[in-house]
């Protein structure tokens, strides 16, 4: 039997991991739901966010400033990619956008290597305070990550449910032609959604930077997990993404407590099981792509 201390820290580790997955996967999910593209370059904005965070926190010594900077840099990079590349290929097949976005990802990794080099960079943890929960020492920083993810979820939900742009986006996920028929410029919506997605990926990179080493391939390391989160939750569903990201986070964390190699294999097994029952994930729409 695993003792409670290990279990509590494991659960917390899973929660913070799930939060990072959520911040990243929501971008992929939003892009798919609204624009029907699979944007692998979210992983690039994740690494860009982490690197900008590293640079700013080295210069100013403040990680929070860095994370905000990383978010902004991710959003700007996403905006540029959207205006330059995606605007031309929205009409094309979905897998086509997937390859193009992989090109952007690989090219962007090249740019990062050019500026920052190959050496992994450490980022200092801003708060090393630990609090005591049920006799277990818990690092506050991980709790803050979870809080940020929850705030982002609430923010996204309010944005989608309360504001007019958000409502237009939700309508766009249902049916883009109708939204266009109402006189709304959908391409403007696409740009906004892409920038939000890229910004959230940048934020995820910035927040996760202190817990890992920042290196050019870091995007490819989380790739599999983010994919599994998106597949389990169902492409295009934000609620599904939230649930599945915490599920995968817990499975990775608790699985590694039981038997280390399980951490990587268990989410995959779960994904296969869920796909066996529901081929479109937990909350994915059964509709074929339009």
């Amino acid at each position: 039997m695993i003792d409670t201390q290990l279990l509590i820290s494991g659960v917390l580790f899973g929660l913070s991991l799930g939060s990072i997955f959520f911040l990243m996967a929501i971008g992929l999910s939003l892009c798919f739901g609204l624009m029907r593209i699979i944007s692998l370059d979210q992983l690039l904005y994740y690494s860009i966010g982490a690197y900008i965070t590293y640079s700013i926190s080295v210069v100013t010594g403040n990680l929070w400033l860095g994370a905000i900077g990383g978010m902004a840099a991710g959003a700007i990079a996403g905006l540029a990619a959207e205006r330059l590349v995606y605007l031309r290929i929205y009409e094309r097949d979905i897998t086509f956008t997937m390859i193009t976005s992989f090109g952007i990802l690989i090219g962007g990794v090249g740019v990062i290597k050019y500026f920052w080099g190959l050496v992994p960079r450490p980022v200092e943890v801003p708060i090393d305070v630990q609090i005591n929960v049920l006799g277990t020492q818990i690092p506050v920083y991980r709790l803050i990550i979870v809080a940020v993810a929850v705030l982002v979820y609430i923010g996204i939900r309010t944005f989608l449910n309360r504001t007019i742009i958000g409502k237009a986006m939700r309508a766009g996920i249902e049916n883009v032609e109708h939204v266009e028929g109402l006189g709304i410029n959908v391409y403007r919506l696409f740009t906004i959604a892409f920038a939000i997605a890229a910004g959230l990926s940048g934020l995820a990179g910035g927040l996760y930077a202190p817990l890992i080493m920042v290196d050019p391939q870091m995007g490819l390391d989380v790739l599999a997990f983010v994919f599994m989160v998106v597949i389990i939750g169902g492409l295009g569903s934000i609620k599904g993404t939230l649930i599945s990201s915490f599920l995968v986070g817990q499975v990775v964390s608790l699985g590694s407590l039981i038997y280390a190699p399980l951490a990587q294999m268990a989410p995959f097994a779960i994904m296969l099981l869920i796909l066996l029952v529901r081929p479109t994930g937990l909350f994915g729409s059964p509709l074929l792509k339009r």
Partner: protein, 356 residues
């Protein structure tokens, strides 16, 4: 299944493509020649590659084009885009690798083991995957590639020696007919295999099964209506394509003399798809042209600049924006036009006196 019946039905249902295929495959010598000339042309080109370019490069190209052929079939004929081809490549490579490292020394048997492993794995995985929608299919396959990477790197580290990989270059015995442990003879073997696979895919294209594959891509409801199962057609196509990838993997393992998890890392995941698109998906020469262009480009760029990812990545985006028909698809009409322009004046001069 009532084959003849079905054929009539399909023709009635006016799958243009099917009819064209039926017409184009006759028995006369002319048609046989037409069937083969493209094949001979493509492989004459590869033979030229062997003469003019260094051997390792030629070997790499021919192996990669075998690898890309499976993906080309999957993408161009069945309409599945798979980012998980490295997974099947690795299955084949490790199938051959395990045999050569632990059990035997015969390279041919090793390749056979790789193929069998490929069939088993792609049957098991395909039964689940082919039910999925194309977007999920692409994502799930990529996840599979990463999982196999972890499996080989960490979980089975006792057997696979983790990142160090399995080395068996020196233990491969020289085989009787074509000595696979020598690169120049390996090239001939790879050449023959590529030729056979190419002919096989060409044969499939002209068969009823090939027409079915194309039909599942274009209109699956109609195929269901005709009494065929989309699922089993896709499954068989999936197994064929991924077994080709596994074969390429096994040949890589024999050629390089080692396997490491690096073969299935996510960074290489889209390479076969890129090569296929580069060459033109669905065109039969696509894989060869594509791998020639891609490997050549990568080789040249990585020699000149260290930072090849930058150029490959943005070059890929550029290619995607420039045209989705790929090199072969774009060049073919241009070449035809050029040829007709060359042919036209000669014709004009020949008949010129009378017409003018």
């Amino acid at each position: 299944m009532a084959c003849k019946d079905w054929r009539q039905k399909v023709q009635k249902q006016s799958f243009r493509r099917v009819i064209e295929m039926r017409i184009s495959t006759g028995n006369s010598a002319m048609n046989v020649l037409r069937w083969w000339w493209g094949l001979l042309l493509a492989f004459a080109m590869l033979a030229l590659v062997r003469v003019f370019l260094p051997l390792p490069f030629a070997n790499e190209i021919i192996l990669f084009s075998i690898y890309a052929m499976g993906c080309n079939f999957l993408l161009g004929r069945v309409g599945f885009i798979s980012f998980g081809q490295p997974a099947y490549l690795a299955v084949g490579a490790y199938g051959a690798g395990f045999y050569l490292f632990y059990f035997g020394t015969n390279a041919y048997v090793g390749i056979l083991f790789g193929i069998v492993a490929g069939i088993i794995v792609s049957l098991a995985v395909g039964a689940l995957f082919v039910r999925l929608r194309s977007d999920y299919f692409a994502l799930v396959n990529l996840a599979l590639a990463v999982i196999i990477y972890y499996l080989m790197q960490k979980v089975l580290a006792n057997i696979t020696h983790g990142d160090n990989g399995l080395w068996f270059l020196t233990t491969i015995a020289s085989s009787p007919v074509l000595d696979l442990s020598r690169p120049d003879q390996f090239f001939i073997f790879a050449f023959l295999v590529a030729f056979a696979i190419w002919a096989f895919y060409k044969y499939i294209d002209d068969s009823i099964f090939g027409a079915c594959c194309l039909a599942t891509k274009i209109n699956e409801d109609k195929l269901t209506f005709l009494g065929y199962s989309n699922y089993s057609i896709r499954l068989v196509a999936f197994v064929i394509a991924n077994t080709t990838a596994a074969l390429a993997g096994a040949m890589y393992a024999v050629y390089l003399g080692f396997v490491s998890p690096e073969i299935t890392s996510a960074a290489h995941a889209p390479e076969p798809v890129v090569v296929t698109i580069l060459g033109g998906a669905g065109t039969l020469y696509g894989p060869i042209v594509g791998s020639l262009a891609y490997i050549g480009m990568k080789d040249l760029i990585s020699k000149v600049v260290g930072n090849w990812e930058l150029i490959i990545g943005f070059g890929l985006v550029f290619i995607m924006l420039a045209g989705e028909r790929g090199i072969c698809g774009t060049l073919a009409p241009l070449l035809r036009k050029a040829f007709s322009r060359v042919a036209a004046p000669t014709a004009a001069t020949g008949v010129g006196g009378k017409t003018r």
